[in-house]
């Protein structure tokens, strides 16, 4: 048989016929079959990988250094105040509490809704056209920029029917409050929760559900008692990721929570009066304290950014722990 293509002859390695030690994964096969373009490609891979690491380390180190330099624990409990130099302007306790508030309120809406939608998609899903539309809707919501969600929020919450959720001034509903911000922030977290819970429910094999139906349980009971508890890792992961997105979002806060640095309660009843009023969160505080905003207090900005970063890292760490614990427990047999 003729070969129309030349096969390059193999060259024995220098130094005589040494038997090489056993090869492992990752060993580059050698020079003869790797063309120049292949080797350049591998070099680019290494260079970019190292560059990523370098950038991440630089960002982390810089934030940590600046944060530790400027963060005083008192800042977390002192509200912001007017002052001439940075040292006199107090802290950002309102922003810190504000972040916690929107986190809790946003998740209070997003988590049940997300679980419900995911359950419907996986367990029910009829008619099929509605299921497809729903999937596309969730994907679309994930792709909408949060600034657009914020603008839409202004329309909804300026409606006089919802006046009780924010401040009104001579018949003009202001439309900015913790309620408004949390409602739109829940949309930001929703797709992440839905995706995660869906994955969890899908990973449960069919025979588990069939076993439950076979003893007469309804689908609802099966879901509530068996399937959702079994997907706890994925639900928790989705919740953590969603929460991370919520506390990291700035655009919705800037638009729907107002440009103040302190709480501005409205009306009389605690805690409703705070939630109806405007306020701030860490992200908004960082934005305002940076040169772009109104305050120009870079030191406090670094401090607030550092606190925010720690919160996000804590959430990431929680996701990691959940994953590691889930792997130890093991998976379904089928």
């Amino acid at each position: 048989m003729e070969s129309s293509l030349a096969t390059p002859p193999a060259a024995p390695p220098p130094g005589g016929p040494q038997i090489p030690s056993n090869a492992t994964k990752g060993a580059v096969e050698g020079s003869a079959t790797w063309r120049l373009s292949d080797r350049i490609g591998l070099a680019i891979c290494w260079a970019l990988g190292l560059l990523f690491c370098a950038i991440a380390v630089a960002i982390a180190v810089y934030l940590f250094i600046q944060g530790i330099k400027y963060l005083k624990p008192s800042m977390l409990v002192t509200p912001a105040a007017a002052g001439f130099s940075e040292g006199e302007t107090g802290g950002f306790s309102d922003a810190f509490v504000g972040t916690l508030i929107v986190g809790v309120m946003g998740m209070a809406i997003a988590l049940p809704a997300g679980i419900a939608i995911a359950v419907w998609l996986v367990e029910y899903g009829r008619p099929a056209a509605l299921a497809r539309v729903t999937e596309s809707t969730i994907e679309a919501i994930a792709g909408i920029p949060s600034i657009v969600l914020a603008l839409f929020g202004t329309v909804i919450f300026s409606n006089t029917a919802l006046a009780f959720l924010s401040r009104s001034n001579e018949g003009v509903v202001f439309g900015r409050s913790f309620f408004a911000a949390s409602a739109m922030l829940s949309l930001v977290a929703l797709p992440l929760i839905v995706a995660s819970v869906r994955e969890g429910l899908h990973s449960i094999p069919r025979h588990v559900r069939e076993a439950s139906y076979a003893v007469g349980k309804t689908k609802a009971a099966t879901t509530r008692r068996i399937l959702l508890p079994a997907s706890r890792p994925q639900v928790a992961t989705g919740a953590m990721l969603g929460l991370g997105r919520i506390i990291g979002d700035t655009a919705i806060i800037v638009v729907l929570l107002g440009a103040t640095q302190n709480f501005a309660p409205v009306g009389g009843n605690f805690p409703f009066n705070y939630l109806r009023g405007a306020g701030t969160t860490l992200t908004n505080f960082v934005y305002e304290a940076s040169p772009t905003g109104n305050l120009n207090q870079p030191q406090k900005a670094y401090a607030a950014a550092f606190v925010l970063l720690l919160m996000v890292l804590a959430l990431n760490g929680a996701v990691d722990i959940i994953h590691r614990r889930a792997r130890k427990v093991g998976t379904w047999s089928s």
């Binding site: 982390a60 359950v119 729903t134 309804t218 991370g244 772009t292 900005a301 990431n316």
Partner: protein
């Protein structure tokens, strides 16, 4: 004793009822999305109606036009809607396009590296690094950009001569295209790396092993078979990244410059130092103008453009993925 059952009436939460309730919730969410699209469009319509297709074109200073619009609304007299958004659109294209282009190639190489060629210790470092970068809030990227990168560019990269050459028109103070593209690239690349890596990992190992067993080296196997099979994931990741880049408002508001200026490639080297302001940050910067009706319409018009770009991107991605399904298990 099973509390879900009451002896006379059957289960309290019957499947049918639960299904209806959940179905109602799902319909509500779909309805919410539709309401959003309709509302944004309706609110922005006056701006489009008054400008026609010229809305997208060039013509005059965007900042002046926004100011005029706002003032006309405040005064309650005849509303002015004149608005030509081309500088904003051009800035968006430049910044989003530039950063996605760079991020796409970087992310592809890094994903290939992480999945195939990195030694174990290196992968173990890179995975958390990428997750860390992906989870940093955008405002923190903006903060670092404005406090570190912008001064660096303004003081060390742009020469005095260059600043003087455009002194009358704009100021090259570091709030620039370069800063915006750099930070945006670092922001969206980790997201793309995760999606690409997932795509590469889901390639059937039988194909990769088959290719190796035919005498193709690991690099070419990974690219010709692995990356080729993972093309749908690559498209999906890119679409997501572009949507993110277009919609990024706050970070870009902090570092791209507050001037509605259209960077001009014909300016030569200073092109990358010119300030700009894409569509999304424009909304954030002018959010105080919402109370004035014509400004309100203008801002909603910009939001409409953002919304429909995101939708259009999704559609393109979906179509591309369908076309790729011809030959294989996509």
């Amino acid at each position: 004793m099973d509390e879900e059952f009451s002896p006379e009436y059957g289960p309290r939460w019957s499947d049918k009822r639960v299904e209806q309730m959940l179905g109602a919730l799902v319909c509500a969410v779909v309805g919410l999305l539709l309401a959003m699209i309709v509302t944004v469009l309706v609110r922005g319509w006056p701006s489009f109606a008054h400008n026609g297709l010229a809305w997208f074109g060039p013509g005059g200073s965007v900042d002046e036009q926004l100011n005029t619009i706002f003032l006309s609304g405040e005064s309650g007299a005849h509303y002015v809607y004149t608005f030509h958004a081309w500088p904003l659109i051009w800035s968006t294209l430049l910044i989003a396009g530039g950063s996605v282009f760079i991020a796409l190639f970087s992310a592809l190489f890094v994903a290939v590296f992480v999945v195939e060629f990195a030694p174990e210790w290196m992968s173990n470092i890179l995975q958390p690094v990428i997750r860390f970068l992906a989870s940093i809030p955008s405002v923190i990227y903006g903060l670092i950009g404005v406090l570190v990168l912008v001064p660096f560019i303004g003081n060390h990269l742009v020469t005095e001569h260059q600043k003087a050459s455009v002194a009358g028109v704009i100021s090259l103070s570091g709030y620039s295209l370069l800063a915006a593209i750099t930070v945006l690239t670092v922001m969206i690349a980790p997201l793309m790396v995760s999606i690409f890596s997932d795509g590469l990992r889901s390639v059937k190992p039988g194909w990769l092993e088959g290719s190796l067993a035919l005498g193709v080296n690991r690099w070419r196997t990974t690219w010709k078979i692995g990356v080729r099979t993972a093309r749908p994931a690559i498209v999906a990741g890119t679409v997501l990244a572009v949507a993110r880049a277009i919609g990024e408002a706050v970070m870009l508001a902090m570092i791209s410059g507050s001037v509605g200026f259209a960077p001009n490639p014909a300016d030569g080297a200073i092109f990358i130092y010119e300030p700009s302001r894409p569509l999304a940050p424009t909304i954030v910067k002018n959010i105080d103008q919402l109370s004035s009706p014509p400004s309100n319409a203008t801002l909603f018009a910009i939001a409409t453009v953002l919304l429909f770009s995101a939708a259009f991107l999704s559609l393109t991605g979906w179509a591309a993925r369908r076309a790729m399904r011809k030959y294989g298990a996509a």
